[in-house]
């Protein structure tokens, strides 16, 4: 072991190992896991303890960097890579976020998944513990190799949890899709890490940072490395064109979506770039790519979110969009702003997802047209959901305000007017589509079920209702039944909707209060307070830069308010008819409903290129490789058939053979030698 085992390092280790302990207990002691609820409580307790340890580590370790490592890959007396924890300003905050959301989600799941069979529940909590361990290991990892290992582990957990209801073909497909698409990026990441090692001879983040800041890394050829690392981040953080897996990942239980596909795992890509921003600073051309792809992803996902009728899919596209925001900030060279948004987004997006889970739990459906007027039946949930939404819209006093301002300021000051304009538009769209959800779900009246006949490409079979009078109730019933199987929740018609149980409400309150606390603190404290969350050195670096222009904050807030206003006019007062609004954006809407054909493009690539290539390879294998072998074996059999005639079975013929052979040998001896 190297490094001093300080208080903070000890607690960070504790936070890392508690979920691992919980996972091992649940994985190995199968009878305990199959008990279900005791296993769930055990895992939740471990997560809570991990959170407490993480907070202590953060409080103790905010000032100094703590690093405790053990040799991992010894090779000829030299250790190639270590394994352990590196606790600095960024990783300690990330540790707190991960353990907090992880604990709240596990607690929430106690209520949300109460109808699950006991063995399945135990399995769920085993996966949750493994995920918490992997994600904490990723956040705390002192070198790129351990980071990559944990990176793959969280990918595995994501796969397992998306496919939690593996009996449903769509969930199994979504799990495989998520796994393969993120894997495509992971290959890039691995190549990048190994190439970087070839170049510098180390995996260690601190050493690499020292080399990068002292210009000891040759810049020639570094662009390929940083781009390869960015590939990994693209896959994990769902950047265009790898964003297609994230909406499908909503097939998992809603708490899983909150934890993995909104608050923590999908931000791993952003976190990776934040951890290596000194490396990316050496390659401005790659940073420009990061910024443009980020802005484009943000816009694309925001447009897609506007036409979704599935509440979870709206949130999923919103996550993709916000990840684009973070990436753009990193591309603009201000990773701290992206990291700040990562943290606030982690809080309020978890809140939104868990709130959506409460709604789905109550209504028994994901479909927005089936909801409406829920604010009267579940006022607390509505209130908390609105808090999350305002946060996401970047309204002052709420959590997302400062981080969004910081990003917009960073992008403007980074000399990227193009992405800046895109992000302003996205800010408007974000407010619009989120308040569309709020007004459709919590206010107004439930729309007639005919509205369900929307196109749900990629979300199972399209439900088309031709004659509302006769078939609508039946379809609605079938739909309800389906969703009940989907979410394992109570089957309730909307009129019977009620507040969720305390196990589900409590996490919502905690997240909402934290979002508000962060929002109020940062709104009044301004940019300087960001250092409290992302570490002093970054705040200091930010202070040196010129301040963004004064019109920026009003403009950004104005864009958000305009979006809210448009949603209010369209979906609440219905001054603007939703259909005429849709007609105004006809072609875009048409394209967006079909997801801009990106999924189709992937299908086509898969169908034509990959399968075509596979067919050619299969043909070669079947007829050329196998053909040669078959021909040889046929010849052998035939030759054997021809030659069997000389085996007469009569003893004396063999004696003739032996005698003739001896004679030949003797003659040969005489004549040749």
């Amino acid at each position: 072991m190297t490094g001093v085992l300080t208080d903070s390092a000890l607690h960070a280790l504790l936070a890392l190992l508690l979920p691992a302990f919980s996972f091992l207990v649940l994985a190995i002691i199968a009878p305990f896991r199959r008990l279900g609820r005791p296993a769930a409580w055990f895992s939740t307790t471990c997560a809570a303890a991990a959170f407490v340890a993480a907070v202590i580590a953060w409080i103790h370790g905010a000032e100094q960097v703590a690093r405790v490592v053990w040799p991992w890959l010894p090779s000829g007396g030299v250790t190639i890579a270590d394994v352990g924890v590196l606790l600095d300003a960024q990783s300690s905050v990330m540790l707190c976020l991960v353990t907090l959301v992880s604990f709240l989600v596990q607690f929430y799941s106690l209520g949300y998944l109460h109808d699950e069979p006991a063995p399945a529940l135990g399995r769920y909590y085993a996966y949750q513990s493994l995920f918490a361990f992997s994600m904490i290991g990723l956040a705390l990892s002192p070198n790129l190799l351990q980071l990559f290992m944990c990176w793959e582990l969280v990918g595995l957990c994501s796969y397992l949890l998306i496919g939690y209801w593996y009996q449903r073909p769509s969930a199994a497909r979504a799990a495989v899709k998520a796994f393969w698409i993120t894997k495509a990026g992971d290959v890039g990441l691995l190549i990048g890490i190994v190439m970087l090692w070839r170049l510098t001879g180390t995996f260690d983040l601190q050493q690499l940072r020292m080399m990068a800041t002292s210009a000891a890394i040759p810049v020639a050829g570094l662009s390929i490395i940083t781009f390869a690392i960015y590939m990994g981040a693209m896959g994990k953080s769902a950047q265009f064109p790898f964003h297609v897996w994230l909406p499908d990942a909503m097939e998992g239980p809603t708490p899983v979506s909150a934890l993995i596909h909104a608050a923590t795992m999908v931000t791993a890509g952003v976190y990776l770039l934040v951890r290596t921003d000194w490396l990316f600073a050496l390659t401005p051309n790659v940073l420009a790519i990061v910024a443009w792809i980020g802005a484009f992803t943000a816009l694309l996902a925001a447009v897609l979110a506007c036409v979704q009728d599935d509440i979870k899919r709206v949130l999923a596209y919103s996550t993709v969009s916000q990840l684009g925001y973070m990436m753009t900030a990193i591309g603009a060279g201000v990773a701290a702003a992206g990291f700040l948004h990562l943290l606030t987004h982690g809080l309020f997006k978890a809140l939104l997802f868990l709130g959506a889970g409460a709604v789905i739990h109550a209504v028994g459906s994901n479909d927005l047209p089936r909801m409406g007027g829920l604010a009267r039946k579940m006022p607390q949930t509505a209130l908390l959901f609105v808090v999350g939404t305002l946060s996401l819209a970047g309204i002052p006093l709420f959590g997302g305000f400062l981080s969004k301002e910081e990003i917009l300021g960073a992008v403007w000051m980074g000399g990227l007017p193009g992405p800046f304009a895109v992000l302003m538009l996205v800010a408007f769209l974000t407010a619009f589509y989120m308040f569309r959800v709020v007004f459709l779900a919590f206010f107004g009246v439930p729309a007639p079920v005919v509205g369900v006949a929307q196109v749900h490409a990629g979300h199972g079979v399209g439900r088309v209702v031709s004659d509302p009078a006769s078939t609508a109730p039946r379809v609605a019933h079938a739909h309800l039944h389906n969703e009940a199987v989907v979410e394992g929740a109570h089957v309730h018609e909307a009129p019977h909707a009620h507040e969720p149980p305390a196990t589900m409400l409590l996490p919502l309150w905690v997240l909402a209060l934290m979002t508000m606390a962060v929002g109020v603190y940062t709104t009044f404290g301004g940019a300087a307070t960001a250092g409290f969350f992302v570490g002093g050195e970054h705040a200091a670096a930010g202070a040196e830069q010129a301040l963004p222009p004064g019109w920026l904050t009003p403009a950004a807030v104005g864009a958000g308010l305009a979006g809210i206003l448009l949603a209010w006019l369209t979906y609440q007062t219905r001054t603007i008819s939703a259909t005429s609004l849709a007609a105004a954006f006809g072609p875009i809407r048409f394209a967006a409903i079909r997801k801009f054909w990106i999924d189709d493009l992937f299908e086509a690539i898969y169908g034509f290129l990959l399968l075509g290539f596979a067919r050619i390879v299969g043909w070669i294998d079947r007829y050329i490789v196998d053909g040669v072998l078959n021909l040889l074996s046929d010849w052998t059999v035939q030759a054997g058939d021809e030659l069997r005639g000389i085996q007469t079975g009569k003893p004396q013929d063999y004696v003739y053979g032996v005698a003739t052979g001896v004679l030949v040998l003797v003659l040969l001896m005489r004549l040749v030698f």
């Binding site: 007469t648 079975g649 005698a659």
Partner: protein
């Protein structure tokens, strides 16, 4: 007397034995042929033993004779069994190993 006449005798006896083995249809005849070939070998051994004044050839011959006797006894037993099972001892009828 030199070595050569002994070797000639031995070769002649061996050839007669081999001819018998190859041409006799009766299994007992084949066994007799094998005996002749064995004895040709014995003559060879003894002759060389005298010629090189090494006793080992003689001792070998004694062993060979013993073994030949055993082999003849076994061979005859097999032939008798064969006759019981197949009702024939003609070699060209025993072609179970035909391919």
């Amino acid at each position: 007397m030199g070595l050569q006449p002994y070797l000639l005798l031995s070769a002649t006896v061996f050839s007669i034995g081999l001819f018998g083995v190859m041409t006799r249809r009766n299994t007992i005849g084949i066994l007799l042929g094998i005996e002749l070939m064995m004895n040709a070998v014995n003559i060879n051994l003894v002759a060389f033993s005298r010629y090189t004044a090494a006793v080992s050839g003689m001792i070998f011959t004694v062993f060979t004779i013993c073994i030949t006797v055993t082999e003849a006894a076994l061979g005859l037993a097999i032939v008798i069994l064969l006759f019981r099972v197949r009702r024939t001892v003609m070699a060209d009828h025993l072609d179970l190993l035909k391919g």
